[in-house]
Amino acid sequence: MLRRAGPSLRHFLLERKSSAGYSSYTSEAKMSRPLQARRLEGIDKNIWVEFVKLAATYATVNLGQGFPDFPPPDFLKEAFVRALSGENHMLHQYTRAFGHPPLVKILAQFFGKLLGRDLDPMTNVMVTVGAYQALFCCFQAFVDEGDEVIIIEPFFDCYEPMVKMAGGTPVFVPLRPKAPKDGKLMSSADWQLDPAELASKFSERTKAIVLNSPNNPLGKVFSQGELELIADLCEKHDILCISDEVYEWLVYDGKEHIRIASLRGMWDRTVMIGSAGKTFSATGWKVGWTVGPNRLLQHLRTVHQNSAYHCATIAQEAVAQGFQREIELYGKPDSYFVQLPKELQQKRDWLVQSLDAVGMKPIIPEGTYFLVADISEFKSDVPEVPDSDEPYDYRFAKWMVKNKGLAAIPLSAFYCGAHKNNYNHFIRFCFAKEEATLKAANDILQKWKREKTSP
């Protein structure tokens, strides 16, 4: 890139034009040299910017972006208020940079119990600004230029740009749908990795694999066999596993969320990521965490102390109290981790019914609060546009929010550029919504069906 030492001619002209001083500068005055760092190349686009705006403008029923429209539980809100208004006003000041002591202590205790390990809160746990920042720290800490990172499609969209920003090369491997049994609806369990295909993606440049279970957007809960397949390859190729488990509590039909870090040989090479936002229905609090061995977490700490450093104190204090309650109620009917999936399962079933009734074919998710539906039968409403570079489901989702007021996210948003047209007749709905919202969605769908079938 050419760097010039002197000011541009344009700048000189602007300077001469101005007489009254700074306020008369036009907003067009710009630096003449190239500005942005190369690490930003190709990562500027973001689906949420567009779809959040569309939903805000047109949606009467928003099942798009993944957040609950019901509040966090009372015990959590109360903990927040106690923390901010209590005698200890030092909770409004910096806390320990790698995690507020009460929070890391309870997380170490809680996850230690689940993993069957003795965890040190100071070295095996680090708090982050949401799971999002935890992911960022992992990629920055471990992915260098030239490293390959395996990403399973469909994937939470930030993995790809984060790998690229770290100079890495994302290598994609798809979950492939197997046809369901006759007459049955597809399940997220029917989307599976081809073991030979997965194995072929590993090379000597592979640094890590990103695992997301339960999976956003499909809702797949990886089985023990599937996790062992991945674990075997991780061990064989000596690579790291970045395990995004933010939906760990949202599993249905008696399924079990298995933590890959608990499989043999995996603790030492896995960073487990969690989220208070998803755990406690408080996405706006942006509290996340990483759990793993010190020799991996030490490098996350280095990234964290040079990027965000401290996380907000009050929310950490409240989340710590939330976990304190949950550790005492673990496994009991009153536990939020028992109640929330129970409620969400009902909502899932409700939405499945709604969609099935109108001809959208839902893929029943085993976990998360997302559901993907096949819109092939609705394709006629939004005709194919030849030579359009937008995948069909994008156009469908945009048309649907503008014309029907119902917001959802196109599945191709969760695929890399080259694969966006592989699965372009699916859309993702979020069902972490009040009953009234889901009813309203149903009304829209029913009306739409009537309009389609009436002459």
Binding site: R3, A5, G6, P7, S8, G21, Y22, Y25, S27, K30, S32, L35, Q36, A37, R38, L40, N46, V49, Q65, P68, D69, K77, V81, L84, H89, M90, H92, Q93, Y94, R96, A97, R117, D118, V129, G130, Y132, F136, Q140, A141, D144, M165, D232, D238, S262, R264, W267, D268, A282, T283, G284, W285, K286, R295, H299, N306, S307, A308, H310, C311, A312
Partner: protein
């Protein structure tokens, strides 16, 4: 500690079982001995793992120590700020995700306040990014605009994160020290100045940016218009960016005025101005900051932000917005918190200075900020027997913490490698402390000479 062990046995499939802790440890040891652990850190963070705060905040965590070290208030934030947070948290929607680049009501409030201060139109959606503290703004700015091959000028002493952040971006920090120029008796932060010729020499075709911090941490210097003009002229001449860390912008004392370099001719288009809720409202634990600048620069910071943490806390942003509206409406009124906090701190500054002077020390009186540096070499504390390869001020502070139960921060933590010698006789005190803390410091300082052998 033993854990219950379960074993599963499935035909043809590898088993997994939870082991006893003892067994798992021994297996782990043997496994790690044989496994060539190739999972090193990336090059970008090589050498960036140590940090002065990790060392000193641990030491000062002992409640029996009078902590004038780390820069955090032990005074309460204003009550309306806490009330606004309680109100925000009670609204269901405000506990969920908000706009990634900044909660709408907050960016609107910020644009109003800063339009007034800067005298120019600021678009809340394109000219502002809300970040996790000013720290996050520094990171976003540097990641967005700085890369390998670039040089970034850093004025010493500097807030310590500038250097590792520049290095993490692959660029080269180029240091220039503030130099003390005063023959008089009562040193002031204004006596620490840049040598214009020396500064000009630091600029070359590789210079991508200069980082400016005014009011300055740790010295408390408030750069004058003339000093800013020198920097601005060089930025324009060499077409460089200016990253202006102005977190202490409201904390300027009598007779001084905080001037935003972005308001100088030719500077808006090349400056990112960074602010902090923590320092503005005495809520460092809220970790909210912002970057303000022209759209064509801010848009790159927004790209970094959407790929690092995406959104900041919603209830905190809403509460901050409401607090800003309250103070925006009274910006002509002396009761505005921006001015009342400054007045409160000025008297604490004067008290701190007096305490140090009465102990025979010569503190550098800051024109702004809430830190004060002081040359401790005049105390002649002999630490030559302390067998550590650390600068004098590190040793002094550790000794002071142990033997005097008073903490501060060594100034050489804020210097590049060449200048550590120059600054190792200084330590930094933080005076945004409640009266009882300053009272306790007074006792220690008054008794200092009595206890020294």
């Amino acid at each position: 500690m033993l854990f219950a062990s379960r074993s599963f046995c499935c035909l043809g499939i590898r088993t997994y079982q939870q082991r006893t802790d003892l067994l798992s440890r021994s297996i782990k040891i043997s496994a790690s001995a044989t496994m060539a652990f190739r999972h090193k850190n990336t090059r970008r963070i090589e050498g960036l793992d140590s940090n002065v705060w990790v060392e000193f905040t641990k030491v000062a965590a002992d409640p029996s120590i009078v902590n004038l070290g780390q820069g955090l208030p032990d005074i309460s934030p204003p009550s309306y700020v806490k009330e606004e947070l309680a109100k925000a948290a009670a609204v269901d929607r405000l506990n969920q995700y908000t706009r990634g680049f900044g909660h709408l009501s907050l960016v609107k409030a910020l644009s109003q306040v800063y339009e007034r201060v800067c005298g120019r139109k600021i678009d809340p959606l394109t000219d502002i990014l809300v970040t996790v503290g000013a720290y996050g703004s520094l990171f976003s700015t540097i990641q967005a605009l700085i890369e390998e091959g670039d040089e970034v000028i850093i004025i010493e002493p500097f807030y310590d994160c500038y250097e590792p952040m520049v290095k993490m971006a692959g660029a080269k920090p180029v240091f220039i020290p503030l130099r003390y120029k005063n023959d008089g008796n009562s040193p002031s932060s204004a006596d620490w100045v840049l040598d214009s010729a020396e500064l000009a020499n630091k600029f070359n075709s590789k210079t991508k940016a200069i980082i400016l911090n005014t009011p300055h941490n740790p010295i408390g210097k408030v750069f004058t218009r003339e000093e800013l003009q020198v920097i601005a002229d060089l930025c324009i001449k060499h077409d460089t960016l200016c990253i202006s860390d102005e977190v202490y912008e409201w904390l300027v004392y009598k007779g001084k005025k905080h001037i935003k370099i972005a308001t100088l001719p030719g500077m808006w288009e090349r400056t990112i101005t960074i602010g902090s809720a923590g320092k503005t409202y005495s809520v460092t634990g809220w970790k909210l900051g912002w970057s303000i600048g022209p759209e064509n620069l801010i848009k790159h910071l927004q790209v970094v932000h959407q790929n690092t943490l995406y959104t900041c806390s919603t209830p905190l942003q809403e509460a901050l917005a409401q607090a800003f509206w309250i103070d925006y409406k009274r910006m002509d009124d002396p009761d505005c918190y921006f001015y009342s906090l400054s007045r409160e701190l000025e008297s604490k500054r004067d008290r701190m200075a007096q305490l140090l002077q009465e102990s025979g020390l010569k503190p550098v009186i800051p024109d702004g900020g809430y830190f004060m540096i002081v040359d401790v070499s005049t105390l002649n504390v002999d630490l030559s027997d302390v067998d550590e390869k650390q600068p004098y001020d590190y040793k002094f502070v550790k000794w002071m913490i142990t033997s005097k139960k008073l903490s501060a921060i060594p100034l050489s933590a804020f210097c590049g490698p060449e200048t550590k010698r120059q600054f190792e006789k200084y330590i930094r005190f933080c005076f945004i402390k409640k009266d009882s803390t300053l009272d306790a410091a007074e006792v220690i300082l008054k008794n200092w000479n009595k206890q020294t052998a």
